[in-house]
Symmetry: none
Subunit: 212 residues, 4 copies
DNA sequence: GATGAATGAGGCTTCATTCAT
DNA sequence: CATGAATGAAGCCTCATTCAT
């Protein structure tokens, strides 16, 4: 019976950690890293500072955890979209862009953490943030290399940066607008995908993407 | 009569202000807004806290001043490049991208202020920062509208964001690399310009840009 | 279960607050509001700045708390004296004067806070300070109105001010003298009471106070 | 001619000093000692900090000067009133009260400096302030001693304090009210004088004051 | 494990005062 | 003499982190 109790305890423990983590995401996304305080987070989580420091080494630590969780979830979303897009690399890339936009649009607090509120936080955190973006960029870069022969000559590293940069900036600006006065997330995704696909020299038309 | 020497004094005054301002740019660019402290700035400027608060209302104020100066200088650089590029709009846009990259490559501290080290600035400062980028974006948007008929259909607002986003992100990533292991700024600019011009559906080849 | 010991903790908490508060009273009474610094107070209380700001919002806040506690205790002392003085209003008023003098003589630091060390407190604090005196004055005014028919005609509002002003100033001057070269607090109280009772036209002799 | 120039210069010098001094009175009376800043004062005087420190040793110094000037002018007003009141001591004392009230009512900023804003400013200034009030109190005390035989027995020192305390407090409270909702200064003065004269056991009726 | 009181380093800012022009 | 830029000491306050209960 002991291990069962232990099991439940572990579950509770993890649950509490998650509650703190998601409260932190909310506060960080809304206030930014510096304006967020540990008391704020624990209040939002219905917990206590003591608990906070039991589950996380320090403030930086939750932020990193938030970023990492975000990275995992984003990667999962992208991979799922890519897998569902069939074998055509351009189609995959388009699907990935759309998945990214949808993900960020549905998780605006996390989007803010990734795009806005995590710059300039010092070596450690900047590294974690870049990790997320680098992963993404690297994925794009691979796609580009796979298509190398069929595209105009270009520097894949730079162009991959352009690809993700254009997406993030466009989403950022879109998020800044009041929800009722901005186009749909799908329209946004389409526009970004079009720009990027044309940018790499691939056909930009969504309906033609698998045709010969 | 000594106290009438208003002229030289005004010069010295302005000089001191500039010294503080550029010291602030340096610190902000290197450490970020939050990690930068007023004592750091005044030490770097060879000045004193008292002087600092004589010339600027507060820390936020210098940052805004830095950002504004940066915005002005950047706009000047872009405009000069555009003016020199002749009447072809695509040529102008290409020239602007190259000027932007060159400017940021030559002023890496200011680039960092604008792109990286600016998280959690609070409404006011974030607005000033965005202003700089918005101005830029708006310029691009105008270019796009001017070319409307000759380009594939696209949402100019979104595409303008993509345009500047791709540039900033690519420059950012370029700046992160050690100076000796990165391609030349010109190569970078060329690659970005290529991507962007293709992205909007214009010819991407630099040599064709002025032909009818 | 340890963390359930809420009772003892609450006691300790209140004790700590009280210690800070009374240390503050001491410093404020000795140095005045402006010359008193938070570090001084916490040192006197054997506490820390952090704790100070845990218990009080800011320096103004402690001062207000000190003033309010003082007001309560003073009112209690006056009311007790009045209650013990029997039904004769003049006797009550005399008793109140004596109680006031005794209270201030026994709490010289608080007396200083109330009477002397309180310049330039800003609207908010000055209002709290005046509140204490106003309460007192209002009490006197009520007494005067109760006696209206039996006294020479007078403006009760002004006369009430005179009543309390004479007491505070006399006490202040008395406190300024070195303890060994001043008359007894009782003598002082008697003299003030005599002056004030004569001032309102009531019999000033203590022994006659209850006769018809 | 030289001495004439010197003369004029001395005049100008004195004039500038006076301008600073009266500007200081205004600011001190309105803001209090601590909230008043040297820049504020010099701006109000149309002068400069440099000048300020030429004419006064420091901030404390102007405050003391303001207080001293106030003391002189008040003493002059009281003495004039006393001289005009004829030989009857009670009449003189009544006249002095009325003159005091009138003076303070006509110079509310100075009244604030004397009564409110100069407490708790440290040894030196407190001494200057007390000087002003002590002078006044001493005058009252002398009157009391002159009347000794004709009055009920009382402690002249304490009673003199009561006398001035009642006046200052009543005036203070009167000044706090909005100008349009307070009784006339004369009414105030009459009420205070009545209280005080009764308080020392002298006849309180103004019209009977010179009768045998 | 949970709690929240306690700590103190360190940031921002003000302002009296000085002194070169 | 006038001016106002320059200085820096000192105060208030925040908040990440620790630790006794």
């Amino acid at each position: 019976m002991a291990y069962r109790t232990t099991h439940k305890m572990a579950e509770r423990k993890e649950a509490r950690r998650q509650k703190l983590l998601s409260a932190a995401v909310g506060i960080f996304g809304r206030k930014g890293y510096h304006a967020a305080t540990v008391p704020m987070i624990v209040r939002a989580a219905g917990s206590s500072v003591g608990s906070f420091y039991f589950y996380f080494r320090n403030k930086e630590d939750v932020f990193a955890a938030a970023l990492e969780s975000l990275g995992r979830r984003m990667a999962a979303a992208l991979n799922a979209a890519i897998a569902a897009a069939g074998p055509s690399v351009p189609a995959q890339m388009r699907a990935a862009v759309k998945a990214l936009v949808r993900f960020l649009a549905e998780n605006p607090e996390e989007a803010r953490i990734l795009i806005v509120e995590s710059s300039g936080l010092g070596k450690r955190l900047e590294a974690v943030r870049r990790q997320v973006i680098e992963n993404h960029t690297r994925g794009v870069e691979q796609g580009l290399r796979a298509l190398a022969g069929q595209l105009p000559p270009m520097d894949p590293a730079v162009v991959a940066s352009c690809w993700v940069g254009s997406a993030y900036e466009a989403v950022y600006r879109w998020l800044e607008r009041a929800p009722h006065e901005r186009p749909s997330a799908d329209h946004l995704a389409e526009a970004i995908a079009g720009f990027n696909l044309r940018g790499i020299g691939a056909s930009a038309k969504p309906d033609e993407r698998r045709r010969p």
